[in-house]
């Protein structure tokens, strides 16, 4: 009789003991601007919108994962491509928020602007509960992006030299089409084949679309991919030269860099050679 009475107390005690652990996961927060994201609210959103690809545990092994040619992010491993922080470090909450907002070009990760800012901040908070890294490490310090220098032909030309010197062409190809000699052999941290970015076809980058975004990409690297950080290799002003040159490889995107480059004889010939023109019937295509 006595032991029967004690059962509820044991259960209550067990529940109380378990409370701090469950509560800690639910109370995790994300901070984006003035918004404070709450993991418990983010959890509900995650299990409505995200689990199909990213999986119930956030390990990128959702029911649809096997059918995607670019695997969904593994939040348990917490290795993130798009960061404002140095390679090897955790991204900031803003980085995660921006990734959710922007989506990932040429993948099935869409832009989630349909969600409110608060909802996206809640998702950030929940994503951070999926890996122990967030408990043991702090996010990296965002790199400083110096003001962009004036665009000049010399800047573009110097960027072109760097493109060769740093052997970017080995992966991205001489025309930036993602078809360099090493391209076919590249794999990501999941041992999945990965293709370098094709500048010629794109207008956006994986981690944004501005010159600042491009600057960050090669100064922080895309963790989990063969794209390294060049922060220790080139100076900031050189990085901007590279940005200016890389923009000229986007021959389908009318950027100021491309316009300037085409105004030179050298640039005009290069861009003309790299631009495919014609119609679906083949007329106008010069062999």
């Amino acid at each position: 009789m006595h032991s029967r009475k004690s059962i509820p107390w044991v259960l209550l005690a067990a529940a109380l003991l378990a409370l701090p652990f469950s509560a800690s996961a639910q109370k995790a927060e994300g901070h984006v601007g003035k918004l404070t994201g709450r993991a418990d609210a983010g959890k509900q959103l995650y299990y409505r919108y995200c689990w199909g690809c990213h999986g119930f545990r956030g390990d990128g092994n959702g029911e649809n994962g096997p059918y995607l040619n670019i695997l969904p992010r593994n939040f348990v491993a917490a290795t993130f491509k798009c960061r404002s922080t140095p390679t090897g470090t955790l991204p900031t909450d803003d980085d995660l928020f921006n990734a959710i907002t922007r989506g990932f070009y040429t993948t099935y990760m869409p832009s989630w602007t349909a969600l409110t800012h608060q909802q996206r901040a809640d998702l950030v908070a929940f994503i951070k509960t999926l890996s122990s890294r967030w408990k043991n490490e702090k996010a990296g310090e965002p790199i400083k992006v110096p003001a962009e220098p004036a665009l000049t032909v010399d800047s573009v030309k110097h960027g072109k030299e760097l493109f060769t010197k740093l052997e970017c062409w080995k992966c991205h190809g001489q025309e930036g089409r993602g078809d360099g000699p090493s391209a076919a052999t590249l794999t990501d941290s999941n041992d999945q084949p990965i293709r370098p970015y094709n500048f010629a076809a794109g207008t956006r980058f994986k981690c944004g679309e501005t010159n600042q975004d491009l600057y960050k990409i090669f100064m922080t690297g895309l963790d989990g991919t063969p794209m390294p950080s060049f922060a220790d290799v080139i100076k900031p002003e050189e990085a901007w030269d590279l940005v200016h040159y890389l923009r000229t490889l986007q021959v389908t995107h009318q950027s100021p860099e491309l316009t300037l480059w085409k105004s030179t004889k050298e640039g005009s010939e290069i861009v003309k050679a790299a631009t495919i023109t014609g119609t679906p019937t083949g007329s106008g295509i010069k062999q």
Binding site: E63, L115, T116
Partner: protein
């Protein structure tokens, strides 16, 4: 002490609410095999073909399919595109074909309190309450939709009734993001009007609750009587703002879909094929704006207006029968209203206001080349809709709806003031035993009831219909 009382009251309220909800759920589940109800009336949209294409669960695009979430609305407005250069068919496996079917085997019970039947005296007509029930199935929707190329989308929906007789419910192509702008999208064909509260995505399926009363209301003309049973109805035209229409639509939206606007030019035949009525055109306009309200969610308000016309007599006849498409003597009608979609976390409620006006010629069934009957006037009415939902989680949604329609001016001033007024209520739930990116399945249970004033066919008393529906609603 006060605190204790408040706490006690709070707990009591919570307990009562808990018991009420659970009793309702239990009774619905327990009784549904014995009481279920009718037939999906419209052709409702939920397209696992998209889920399969993008590998996303139903719950991404649907708060509870077929009802769209803001993300699903944005996807639709963007031409069934996510916008990451992976939307065109060239990025799909060659065997992928964007096809989905949907059907709902069900049990339903129907009751109407006053139906005209033969009386005991030969030649007489009396009223009787009629109840039917039994196992049944819905029509079949066969959706094909998606992108033909980047920024060219399409939708073809052959749809049948439950005898298997098919018609085309939707047939359209759309040029999306013309000139790279989300503000320039042109749709051409037969399509659903840009109704934020989509009847094609309605979450209730019974014969009474499977459509919105306000979307199809046309005034009654005059009450019936024992000597002339049946209230007379408008006969010169048929129109429902919930019906798919034929024409061209310009639609624009902001990149994040917070602002939406559209205008349509439509053939005046309520979506019927073959130009059967006239050479008239209608117009439909809709606009809405969403705004964020902290942690509550995305709120949206909007307005819409349909300006239409309908022929009242044929220009030519052959053997006394009107030659199709030669209707003239067009007379006008319009429907207008406002909508609010309010979210409080898991709870949301859609509110709508309607106003309708018909020409006196349409209202009194009078051809435009003849004088109006004495006392005939243009009927007007107002309507309202309140539809709350509670998304307990992506697998369970509780649904309620109340609609009312109130005549503000009768076709004939001699009609009773409330003649034709409607009150309709619906309650139910949908439970999705699994959420997947491959298919959809829902246990659907619903009860709906509708009362229309003075519409009983013989006595002119109120006409009430009730419908109970239980079904397996699935799409693949």
């Amino acid at each position: 002490m006060l605190q204790e009382v408040l706490t006690l009251k709070k707990h009591r309220r919570a307990a009562v609410a808990f018991l009420a909800v659970n009793s309702w759920l239990f009774l619905s589940l327990a009784l549904s095999p014995a009481f279920a109800s009718p037939i999906p009336k419209g052709n409702v949209h939920a397209i696992p073909a998209f889920a399969r294409k993008y590998g996303m669960p139903c719950s991404s695009c649907h708060e509870a399919w077929p009802k769209l979430s803001p993300f699903g609305q944005q996807f639709k407005d963007n031409g069934y595109q996510m916008g990451n250069e992976r939307d065109a068919p060239i990025y799909q496996h060659p065997s992928y074909w964007p096809v989905t079917f949907r059907i709902t085997p069900n049990w339903h019970r129907e009751n109407t309190n006053r139906v005209a039947v033969d009386g005991a005296t030969p030649g007489s007509t009396v009223e009787a309450s009629i109840t039917t029930h039994g196992f049944d199935w819905s029509g079949l929707d066969f959706h094909t939709a998606g992108t033909l190329a980047k920024n060219i989308s399409f939708y073809v929906l052959p749809s049948s009734d439950n005898t298997g007789a098919f018609h085309f419910e939707a047939v359209w192509g759309r040029l999306d993001n013309l000139a790279g702008s989300p503000w320039l999208n042109i749709k051409f064909g037969k399509f659903e009007l840009d109704n934020l509260h989509s009847e094609k995505r309605i979450v209730t399926l019974s014969s009474v609750g499977g459509s919105y009363q306000n979307y199809h209301f046309q005034p009654l003309v005059s009450p019936g009587s024992a000597s002339a049973p049946g209230a007379s109805t408008e006969a010169l035209y048929t129109f429902g703002i919930g019906d798919n229409q034929v024409g061209v639509e310009w639609m624009g939206h902001s990149a994040n879909d917070r602002t939406r606007i559209s205008a349509s030019l439509l053939t005046s035949n309520d979506g019927q094929p073959g130009l059967p009525t006239s050479r008239g055109y209608d117009g439909y306009f809709a606009a809405s704006r969403a705004f964020e309200a902290g942690s509550l969610g995305l709120q949206r308000v909007g307005a819409f207006a349909y300006l239409g016309q309908a022929p009242t007599f044929p220009q030519f006849t052959q053997a006394g029968v009107a030659v199709p498409g030669t209707g003239i003597g067009n007379k006008s009608f319009y429907r207008a209203g406002g909508i609010g979609m309010w979210y409080i976390k898991k709870f949301d409620v859609t509110t709508m206001f309607f106003h309708g006006w018909d020409s006196a010629f349409l209202g009194s069934n009078t051809p435009g080349n003849t004088p109006l009957p004495a006392g005939a006037q243009a009927p007007t009415w107002n309507g309202g809709l309140v539809e709350p939902h509670y998304n307990l989680n992506p697998q369970l949604i509780l649904i309620g709806r109340y609609e009312l329609i109130r005549m503000s001016r009768q076709v004939f001033a001699t009609n009773p003031g409330n003649f034709g007024d409607i009150d309709a209520a619906t309650g139910g739930f949908r439970y999705y035993p699994f959420i997947s990116s491959r298919a959809g399945f829902a246990f659907h249970t619903e009860y709906s009831i509708k009362r229309q004033r003075g519409a009983a066919p013989v006595s002119g008393r109120d006409l009430t219909s009730g419908s109970f529906f239980f079904g397996f609603d699935f799409a693949y």
